[in-house]
Symmetry: C2
Subunit: 887 residues, 2 copies
């Protein structure tokens, strides 16, 4: 027989904190508080499984539920000495939802269940306060009418307003018991008109209807939407807590409030919260009346004239403070409490681990560890690494009143203000004159990298979290909003319009890449301040981390930022980025457009010293650390101009006619560049390019080692490998150049040649590849694209459909898909290490900076992750957490 | 101690036919013939391993080789009673190459090794023919000079010409012994001038130099190129055969010749071949003299005045006929023999399994099986399925003198003649007036399908064997030459130029899709004639085949062709092809460009009856057989026009402005359409499309079943699945429509819904998918693209580089890559069947028609393969062979 109900009260409970999935967060913690002997109004919890059963069976109750509820109710009557529907000591209950994850305010609650024309009189008699009793009854009718019968809120409010007006009252508190009785009569009549039946007087029918209403609210559109947005599964269902009513509104010696054991904004230790005298819980939440502070200290600091609970009701306050301390110690974390004081007696209604700001989380974690409440490892795991992101970048001042004109994807965090420009050329021109600009484009391409570099931030109207703009911006640590689809750009007119407003080139906007907002004008920003707690946590992270953390970086700026953020090497230097500089792109294009190897070599000879200088500087900055450099990866056409003027100019320089140049450009174009002539395929078709890069690299390594006196450890990544034969072909080229250069320079350099594992075939054949490859670098971006068959540049729209339809739980470009892509990474790691014990394994895809993915990389024992410099703190913390947590 | 030499002769041999890899084809068969007691000049074979050693060690001899050759030479002297370099009975040897796979004429041979100023005299004495002896000597010097010393052929020819002219001779045979001695003196002087050393008189030095020359020739550029073209590995090396010289030029009772045991052109049983009296082997090959027939019958049939061997030398002829019979019986296949008759005695120099035409192969296989020489299963395996292709299509008459203007890839077999057109519109216009046209384009897109349909054949200048043009043309059974990169098309001028010639619209060309040739003008074609042997072989194939063979077909014509070629169902009906008809494309475009679901549904309502009619016809043609229909697969933008006029026209029809239509077209465009918004992703974003297709399908199934009285078994393929959740989302749509339609029609239809497995993630998660999918159809084209990360439309050029560099052995789009793509197919099959025992598994990619791939599909136990109708005979034969051969 399935157990559907769990009773609690009287210092005992059938459930406990461990039953959260079954009893919900509220129910399991009520049970736990009972077990701790705390003053909890007794009651019972109907399990979330009952809710799931109810929905699966289209509204039928589980068998035996009725009898179990009956029994639980009898037990409750026994404990409280009250009778449900009794004319003497009527039992009144609240019916509250409580799922394993809190859906704030999304589900229905019904209070005062059990009140009817008869029990209200008993309540009046027992409380000695008829006004209170009838007020409670009218509240119940109203709540029941709305929640259970689905009547409109306004129906009741109108009656209330009429009654107030006819009596000349301003506020509800002016109503007398008799006035409320009039209101109740009208409410009941209204219910009968609207629902076709009189207001139910049978408490059991009230109870079952209320339970049904709570279950039903799990499927309400707003709850469904909320769950979809927060990755909460539909089949979890909600538990229902049926519990003795206690009243904070039973006079001046009653009160209700909420408290945190530490300040959720600052993290400071000490009881923190507010309360209202003679009020019900919803009054605190609704903010109708000004709440009072709990402690004298808080009152003084806020300079409030209203007395504190400490002063007003010292005994219940002391009890609350003591209970708060016990609960924090018991749950070993900051607790967020709900309580009610009924005629001087404190009742605990709820406790849960409290939400907190990132700043507070850091302080609490550090202090709790120092207090000995938790270990350092636990403290580390208390910080959400993702939350650090907003903490490391400027944000829009929450007090500021900005006009949001569009919302896109939060592609790269941070907020900035600048003038609108529509092209990289404009960006360069305007910044040369000292302007701060924001580059606004439909999408970006490698051609825009120079413009992105000088811009303060980037906005695109197309593309997802992993579009070109997003990836490059994150790499640069620049704010970016991508896929702001409601913006309409007219390049020719030089305008961008949204929400009926039009902005011109040079108009000021502000963007927040942490939220995806685009705002008109300059909006005040708040600069990040790194606290001592942050440093302490990062320090502890270092002590607990196994995996190394490297940075993806090409430019000297990036490399310096990487070192500053604690990078232990460069995990990915994308050499192609080095060819987009204005001094190089034209030589690069000449090289690409040459139709003989001899002419290509001429152009490459011009690129060699530039590339060597880049590498030398990088090696010097990273002295003593490994630097992984990837050979040229993108298809060559990505470097080519589309603009006829550019083509004409290049033709002139190359002394060829524009027509045949155009023909060559055409012939290089590809249907699917992502699957194109790229990666090691370039080195195989044009070995001279790989030779130039290898020469630049080895010459630079010798030079930098000579200057810094510290060994340089270059790791050369061969990209887009699918077969072992490709890899060995390219490795031979590199080794040949190494022998030659090191002989010329009479020097010795240790270097490694490894394969980028970013294609399913490479993962499947990792054993063969590892026989020659000295390390693997997992390129999880492209591996995700090929494993799923999804072009990330094109996927933005329908991935949204997918998330909405719950076809995927998470964007696989953000968090590694463990079942598919992860399975390949695991397989490749195993096969690779089987073929070459100790094979060095790292990740350089975007997932290298994603906490959930990092946890997986730790599990399968990779040696390092690499991410953009600005995500290093997140990666370092995540890597440490992965070691502290059981997998 | 490694054994480097294997002796043979005197009815014994150290090697045998099984040692082919070690001793080469020639050496192992010489040994085998010795073991059979046939008259083989004795000798020994130096193994191919020695050659490999020689090259790996940069020209060093393996240790012990010298002593082993020494011993083998002593043994040869013993058997022959001759002495190497002896003044009495000198031993002369030939030094011939012989690798495991024959490289015709690519490697060097040296004859008459052992001749010098002293032994030539003994040879003159012994043969009683001084002229012969000195002729042999001068031939030796010439051959040695060219092959061993690398001197130019002309050096010797000039001397010969001068000597002939000074004596007034016309032909070599006029030289006397004394004349030859003069020539020899000049040859020797020339050798000394050119090589700086006198011509070597030491026979041992001659022998070692000759061996070295043969080994060296394995690395000659032409041999390397040949191997690269024929997939022969460099490290196989060549063996060397050192063998007693026998002379077919020792007078009128001597001869040399070649013979086949059956006619290699027709397959007719009986000795077939030719010979020359008083000649060496190279004279037969060079064709200087008119060769004579072996048999009287052949002589009579050819009406030759020259006597046959049968008549001229009845005894050696009888011996040859008897030996030929024994060899064929022994090797159980047609043999190709070389022989020499020295003074009436027959010597066998070589035997090997002979090459043959496809026609002959069919006849031989059938007759040998009927003779009981081989089993039917063996007979089946004797036919190269790929060769059937040319046998089923018209070919260019081999006698014809055509002017080849370009050579592209043999993308779809068959030869046709027609007028050049440059667009599908032209093609339709001209064929409407009765013209036969060939569509010539840079590449084709789905927009061109209607033009391809009316054209006789297709030529493209870009794209590989699996480009759009190639795939569609093969599906249609139309000849296609793809990637003819030297053709330069100027669409505006309406010309195509090549090799300096220009052709205009309407000019006649001929193309041969079996060879990739494009020829000027009309060239005579030869029509295929299907022989009775072909039917017999296909009949035997049916008896031996396990896998079913289905066809990929959409149109009624294709479906009828499929049935005619023996299809056992349709494995893939690509519904998108049905939307390209001129009556549909515009409605399709309207549907795609609608921005609300309601408007899309309106357009879909117009498409429904058309689609239903298509399906009904298909079901009727295939009555009683399964028909697998794939839901719409390509990204929607593939249906959209690029031409501004078309866009304006559509805008007018849709009553929207062209600007916003253009915007919508832009927004649908994708960077990488192959990885785009396609397959089941369309059904998820636009469920109404899948609904319309499902409805059309079920309505058609009911209708067709009613008309034919035979059950229709629709199998619905959900394309481009990567997760189980995608599949079940789409399956629910289909099941829902099925319930609805079958209820409306009051009918029952058995149908299956299955997943296309064409993405690595689907293969990895096949177990989960199989829980809902009722069959798998492997889409190996796309699976190859994603597993390798190769866009097949873009890969033509560099895959060529890859083949040349031996990085891949075979185009993975032609033959399944077993290590990567095959591993995924195997994995998916295993996981799928583990989750759902008996899961039906088929292949519908191009590999479904490739013999090597079919063999793999048989090995892993798939249920069927599906290919284009015109490849059905090949697939049926291959599937049968896969059952007959051990894996």
């Amino acid at each position: 027989m399935t157990k559907w109900t769990y009773s609690f009260g009287d210092g005992q409970a059938e459930g406990s904190a461990g039953d959260r999935d079954l009893l919900g967060s509220k129910g399991s913690n009520l049970a736990e508080m009972c077990r701790l002997g705390l003053p909890v109004p007794p009651g019972f919890t109907i399990t979330s499984e009952a809710c799931t059963y109810f929905h699966v069976h289209e509204g039928s109750w589980p068998p035996e539920l009725e009898s179990q509820v009956e029994n639980a109710l009898r037990e409750l009557e026994r404990i409280t000495g009250r009778e449900f529907g009794g004319a003497q000591h009527p039992l009144l209950v609240s019916v509250r939802p409580g799922s394993r994850v809190i859906l704030p305010g999304m589900l229905d609650t019904v209070l005062n269940v059990g009140l009817n024309d008869r029990t209200v009189k008993a309540l009046a008699l027992e409380s000695g306060d008829a006004r209170f009793a009838y007020d409670s009854y009218r509240r119940f009718i109203q709540m029941y009418g709305e929640m259970v019968l689905g009547l409109a809120h306004d129906l009741f409010e109108e009656i209330l307003d009429e009654e107030k007006a006819s009596r000349g009252y301003d506020v509800d508190t002016e109503f007398s018991a008799e006035d409320w009785q009039d209101v109740i009569a009208r409410f009941k009549a209204q219910v009968e008109v609207e629902s076709g039946e009189p207001f139910p007087q049978d408490p059991c029918r009230q109870l079952w209807s209320a339970i049904k209403a709570v279950f039903g609210s799990w499927r309400s559109p707003r709850a469904v939407t909320y769950r979809s947005l927060h990755n909460i599964r539909d089949d979890w269902g909600t538990a229902v807590n049926v519990q003795l009513m206690v009243f904070g509104n039973m006079g001046r010696d009653s009160a209700t409030g909420i408290a945190c054991t530490r300040n959720p904004s600052t993290g400071e230790k000490g009881l923190y919260g507010e309360f209202l005298v003679n009020a019900q819980g919803e009054d605190v939440v609704s903010g109708i009346r000004t709440a009072q502070h709990l402690t004298e200290r808080a009152r003084r600091e806020a300079r409030s004239g209203l007395p504190s609970l400490e002063k007003l009701m010292p005994e219940p306050f002391a009890a609350l403070a003591e209970i708060a301390g016990r609960l924090e110690a018991h749950f070993r974390d900051m607790q967020d409490l709900e309580f009610t004081i009924e005629r001087g007696k404190l009742w605990m209604l709820h406790t849960r681990t409290g939400k907190r700001t990132t700043r507070a989380a850091l302080r609490m974690a550090v202090e709790m560890a120092e207090e000995g409440l938790i270990s350092r490892a636990e403290a580390l795991c208390r910080i959400d690494p993702g939350a650090l992101d907003s903490f490391l970048h400027p944000t829009i001042d929450p007090e500021a009143q900005g006009e949001v004109i569009a919302v896109g994807l939060p592609a790269s965090p941070g907020a900035v203000t600048g003038e609108i420009v529509f092209s990289s050329e404009e960006a360069e021109r305007m910044t040369a004159h000292g302007a701060k600009v924001i580059l606004v484009r439909v999408e970006t391409s490698p051609d825009d990298v120079h413009g992105m570099h000088v811009a303060e931030g980037i906005v695109t109207t197309r593309g997802g979290m992993t579009s070109h703009a997003a990836v490059v911006a994150r790499g640069m640590g620049k704010p970016c909003v991508s896929g702001a689809g409601t913006l309409r750009i007219d390049y020719r007119a030089g305008t961008v319009s949204a929400l009926g407003r039009s902005f011109r080139r040079g108009d000021i906007i502000t963007i927040d890449g942490s939220t995806g907002q685009v705002l008109a004008g300059a909006v005040p920003l708040r600069q990040p301040v790194l606290s001592g707690d942050f440093s302490t946590v990062m320090q502890w992270a270092e002590e607990n981390r196994r995996m190394k953390v490297r940075a993806n970086a090409e430019t000297p700026d990036d490399a310096r930022a990487a070192r500053a953020f604690g990078a232990e090497g460069i995990g990915l230097c994308r050499t192609e980025h080095m060819f987009f500089g204005p001094d190089r792109i034209s030589v690069m294009r000449e090289m690409i457009l040459s139709d003989t190897q001899a002419r290509r070599r001429e152009a490459l000879d011009k690129l060699l010293p530039l590339q060597r200088a880049d590498f030398t500087e990088l090696f010097e900055i990273m002295a003593g650390l490994p630097v992984a450099i990837r050979l040229l990866d993108p298809p060559l056409h990505e470097f080519l101009p589309g603009d006829p003027q550019d083509i004409a100019r290049i033709a002139e320089r190359m002394k060829v006619d524009a027509e045949s140049l155009l023909h060559r450009i055409e012939s290089l174009r590809e249907q699917n560049p992502m699957l194109g002539h790229r990666g090691c395929r370039l080195a195989i078709s044009y070995p001279e390019i790989a030779e130039m890069q290898a020469r630049a690299l080895f010459e630079a390594a010798v030079e930098a080692a000579g200057r810094t006196g510290m060994p340089v450890v270059p790791e050369i990544i061969v990209p887009f490998v699918s077969t072992a034969s490709e890899f060995s072909f390219v490795k031979k080229i590199i080794d040949r150049v190494a022998v030659k250069v090191l002989k010329e320079k009479k020097a010795a350099i240790d270097y490694l040649v490894g394969a980028m594992i970013e294609l399913p075939r490479a993962a499947l054949n990792a054993g063969e590849i590892a026989r020659e490859a000295e390390f693997f670098s997992f390129g999880t971006n492209d591996l995700t694209q090929t494993t799923f068959g999804i072009s990330r540049d094109d996927a933005g729209d329908y991935l949204e459909d997918y998330r909405r339809q719950r076809i995927i739980e998470q964007d696989p470009f953000v968090t590694l898909d463990l079942d598919g892509v992860g399975a390949l990474v695991r397989l490749a790691a195993e096969k690779g290490r089987a073929a070459r014990p100790g094979l060095r394994l790292g990740v350089c895809g975007e997932h290298g900076g994603d906490p959930a993915s990092i946890s997986f990389f730790e599990e399968i024992g990779l040696d390092y992750v690499s991410c953009s410099p600005f995500r290093l703190p997140i990666a370092r913390l995540s890597a440490a957490q992965a070691c502290c947590r059981p997998h």
